[in-house]
């Protein structure tokens, strides 16, 4: 159950506005252009061991197709003798994800590769807020229906 604490009115407002200058609006991937987050996938296998059997099958059958379907990802196939087979993904934010596929059947490995490819690279994080915003405001989220200057005295005069 996500916790939600009501903010202490003025302190939160001032703190939020102060942070606005120290922590400006962050750039978002997808605004303007989308840069695919997964930049590299490394497949490590052992040629002799039995745990790499389904991995080798995947590499022989589907790896090149996967690489040609995803030209933005650098696919590296690398023998790693006497170790279990792993798939290691590198992301543009500097993070890595590794998945050992020693017990996976031939059908599970494409699913794992797909999930690694589609991951953003950010670590899993627990969000305790209903709304996450770069510009928090206790007066609420902007609404275009309430944008016009309500306080313009000339408007009131013409309405009479």
């Amino acid at each position: 159950m996500a916790t939600f604490r009501l903010p202490n009115v003025l302190n939160e407002v001032i703190r939020a506005h102060r942070d606005q200058f120290l922590r400006p609006v962050q750039p978002k991937n997808g605004v303007g252009a989308f840069v695919f987050p997964c930049r590299k996938l490394v497949f490590n296998y052992c040629e002799r061991s039995g745990s790499s059997k389904s991995m080798m099958e995947y590499l022989q059958k589907e790896a090149t197709r996967f690489a040609s379907e995803n030209p933005q990802i650098e696919v590296v196939v690398q023998p790693r003798p006497s170790k279990h087979p792993i798939v290691r993904a590198f992301y543009t934010n500097g993070e890595q994800k590794t998945k050992c596929v020693r017990r996976c059947s031939a059908g599970e490995i494409p699913e794992i590769v797909k999930s690694l490819r589609d991951h953003s690279g950010h670590k899993l994080h627990r969000w305790n807020r209903y709304v996450i915003s770069d510009t928090p405001s206790v007066r609420g989220i902007y609404s275009p229906f309430h944008d016009k200057a309500v306080y313009s005295i000339s408007d009131l005069k013409t309405k009479q």
């Binding site: 040629e47 030209p71 650098e74 290691r88 306080y151 313009s152 005295i153």
Partner: protein
Amino acid sequence: MFSTVTRVTSRAGLKLGMVGGSRAALSIATARKMAKESPASGKRVVAEAGSTTYAALEARLNLNFGGHGVMEQVCTHKSFAQGRVEHNERLEWIGKRVLNLFVGEHLLATYPNLSTEALQDVQHSSFGMSSLAEIGRHFGMQAAMRWEPVSREAPAVGLTKVLGKTVQALVGAIYQRQGEAAARAFVKQHVLSRPVDVESVMQIKNPKVMLVALTRQKGMEHPVARILKETGRFTSSPVFIVGVFCGTKMVGMGFGSSLKMAEHRAAKDALLKYYAKEIKDISVTGDEPDVSLFAQDVVV
């Protein structure tokens, strides 16, 4: 189209076959090559940037240089191999000027009321070296870069500058090889789409005085502050919302725990609304390749 499979023969027979005619970035490395590159500390290291890294980088950015080692040159700083391989210095030179031109035009059109010193500051803070380095990191260029740090003890020193120069070199390469329109589109998508922070650039020390001067210059009525809403006036945490009016029109609004502070913020808001006024629909796009921002009747 070019094939980017690098095949280093392995002893056992895991043959994957050539991926001809498609843009796959697939490379097969041997265990021996891997062992040579791992450092003494035992930390796991992946192989350095190969040709597949640059092919993948090109595809990630939706570029196609035709595989003449352009991306490799873009990512090579002159400190690498004592400058004996093709590096990005000349590309960076022209790319920096092209990038600054496009960014400058965009800022000029977007912020019509901002002074040129402020525009320069905005360009420096929002589109300067550190921002370009962030963009480069976002592309995944840090792994593809080839450079030599100044000292081995501090390998990160100089990284920001080199990354920024790499991005400038990339813009230069696009400009030289694909033309102005492509470069403009690239800059618009990747650089100009990032948020611009104008408020931090403006130094407003005495907003009330500045606002009076501005209204006098514009021929508007003298600004007057009026309370719009208030609560808790005689308590420990009052909130006042004050609006600054020039005649009947409200030019700025601010909050505060004292009337003075609310008035200060309202005046500041009025100044920012004027100087940092943003025009959203400007016609500097990559869709009109031969039209400059300022050419009304001259079409090249």
